[in-house]
């Protein structure tokens, strides 16, 4: 057993998992509250990345210092993604509250296609380089080959975001309203919860996490195009389901499990069938635990 190799794969999987987690969190929150597979969530992530890139480039041109660029670009990405999430809910999902679930899903797919092509047409179909916002720190030197400063930032941010979200859901008024709404929307209304606001907030928070992820991930990967949201979205969706969709810790656990699965499978077997294995793993988990790793097992009341 090559311990160092194992450690490297482990850390690689951890980074990958953290990336999935940042996107999966929004997926899972939205699902938890309105039981909608928000297919366009990946596009919100993509728009976050583009906004970040655009703002960062403009600011760099204007001669702002790097740190200011980093902060302003991230904030802009988060704000804009949240606004997009908010608007999207109002246009494509809210009028469909009472409609069959499939209709909402198709609407989400339509939204996803629309946003992808909106960015494609307004910007470009080419890959655009994304500036590295987190410097590659040198003092890591002896260990830098194991984990880079960027990876550390991603992992830390994921952990912090997850803890914050958990606290928000557990202890704040909004969190309580969210939990109540997800369990029984009509009853939540009857206790005085403004359900529309709660749903909007959920989209806003989910989109904000996605945007934060987008800036970090794009700066880690170094390039973006209009299509990144789709692939990342599918993976995040798989992660969310794996962990038990609707559950915040579940999304993170699912994402990490997915990240490690892919990493170790690639490392010890082959990356040819990396995704195949990830999907088979998902199927196997769901067969034995049909509601995901941390999902509530919903026994239907008879």
């Amino acid at each position: 057993m090559d311990l160092q190799y194992f450690a490297e794969l482990f850390l690689g999987g951890l980074t990958r998992g953290s990336i999935y987690a940042l996107i999966a969190l929004g997926y899972t929150m939205v699902y938890g509250i309105i039981e909608l597979i928000n297919f366009a969530h990946g596009e919100i992530y993509m728009i976050g990345a583009f906004t970040g890139l655009i703002v960062a480039t403009v600011l760099t041109f204007a001669g702002f210092p790097t740190l200011a660029v980093l902060v302003i670009a991230s904030v802009a990405a988060v704000v804009y993604s949240s606004c997009y999430g908010f608007t999207m809910e109002k246009i494509a999902y809210k009028p469909l509250r009472g409609a069959p679930r499939l209709s909402a899903l198709i609407s989400a797919i339509g939204m996803s296609l629309f946003l992808q092509n909106y960015v494609l047409l307004a910007q470009t179909s080419d890959f655009l380089p994304f500036p590295s916002l987190v410097p590659d720190l040198a003092f890591w030197e002896p260990y830098a080959h194991i984990i880079s400063s960027q990876e550390i930032v991603i992992i830390t941010v994921t952990a912090v975001v997850m803890v914050l979200l958990n606290l928000l859901i557990k202890f704040t008024r909004m969190g309580k309203a969210m939990r109540a709404t997800s369990q029984d929307r009509e009853m939540a209304m009857l206790t005085g919860v403004d359900v529309n606001r709660v749903i909007s907030m959920t989209f806003v928070i989910g989109s904000a996490t996605a945007a934060l992820g987008a800036v970090l991930i794009a700066s880690h990967i170094g390039q973006i195009n209009f299509y990144i949201g789709f692939i990342a979205g599918i993976k995040a969706f798989v992660a969310a389901v794996l962990g038990g969709i609707g559950s915040v810790p579940g999304a993170v656990v699912g994402a990490l499990v997915l990240g490690w699965t892919e990493s170790f499978f690639t490392g010890y077997i082959s990356s040819d069938y990396e995704d195949v294995f990830a999907f088979i793993f998902l199927v196997v988990i769901l067969i034995f635990k049909p509601s995901g790793i941390l999902g509530r097992s919903e026994t239907q009341k008879v």
Partner: protein, 235 residues
């Protein structure tokens, strides 16, 4: 206190309420009886704005509320215990009660009310950290009523509190409803299938048939009414 004036409400493809008018005075227990599907629950949902009426007016203490969103109506003090109890199954008993006080800000008063509730229903105090979904039917009904009380209702709407409960529990629940009305002077609008029990604690009653109010009188008179006896009291 509450005046409903000729409301029409649509549910799905059916017009559920056809020109309902009724009135509830402060401190009263009013009982609405009728067969299943007559529109009793819809009436409550219309008052709360969950299924707002398409036409007509609902006036609560001189204020038109038919166009307000539910949360604003709850804020005014109209609180409903819906049919089937609707406990948040994954929230603990304490959290469920907390949700009842969602719109209230005064922490001290909330704590006092909580003590009152635990006093009223000692079993809830015992189960305070248990998830709501794991309670028995009777306990859930107690929790549902308590949750509503936590909102300090001025008008409490109760929808079928006896549904699916054992006779013993039904009796307890009705005793408590009477107690709440007496002790807090809470106005209560009660929708019941079990007309016999309901009319025994109510002051006045309305009888509903397929979306219309067909009869209204004092509870005692209704209990004595031959038609009501035949149709709803099973005597």
């Amino acid at each position: 206190m509450l005046k409903i004036d000729d409301i029409n409400t649509y549910y799905g493809n059916i017009q559920a309420l056809k020109g309902i008018s009724l009135e509830i005075g402060a401190g009263e227990i009013i009982c609405l009886i009728g067969a299943n599907g007559a529109g009793k629950s819809t009436t409550l949902m219309s008052i709360c704005g969950v299924v707002p009426p398409r036409t007509g007016r609902i006036v609560f203490e001189d204020r038109e509320i038919q166009n307000l969103p539910t949360n604003r109506i709850v804020e005014l003090g109209i609180v409903q215990v819906p049919e089937g109890r609707r406990i948040f199954p994954y929230l603990t008993v304490a959290e469920n009660l907390d949700m009842g006080a969602f719109l209230r800000k005064d922490k001290a008063a909330i704590a006092r009310d909580l003590d009152y509730i635990y006093d009223l229903f000692p079993i809830l105090a015992k189960r305070r950290h248990q998830a709501g979904g794991t309670l028995s039917g009777g306990e859930q009904q107690m929790l549902a009523i308590s949750r509503a009380l936590m909102a300090r209702p001025r008008l409490l709407l109760l929808d079928e509190p006896s549904l699916g409960l054992a006779p013993l529990v039904v009796k307890q629940i009705f005793e408590i409803i009477g107690k709440i009305n007496r002790e807090n002077n809470t106005t209560i609008f009660l929708v019941e299938q079990n007309a016999n029990l309901a009319l025994q604690i109510a002051h006045r009653g309305y009888v509903m048939e397929t979306g219309r109010i067909t009869l209204t009188d004092t509870a005692a008179n209704l209990l004595a009414n031959e038609d009501v006896k035949k149709a709803y009291l099973g005597i």
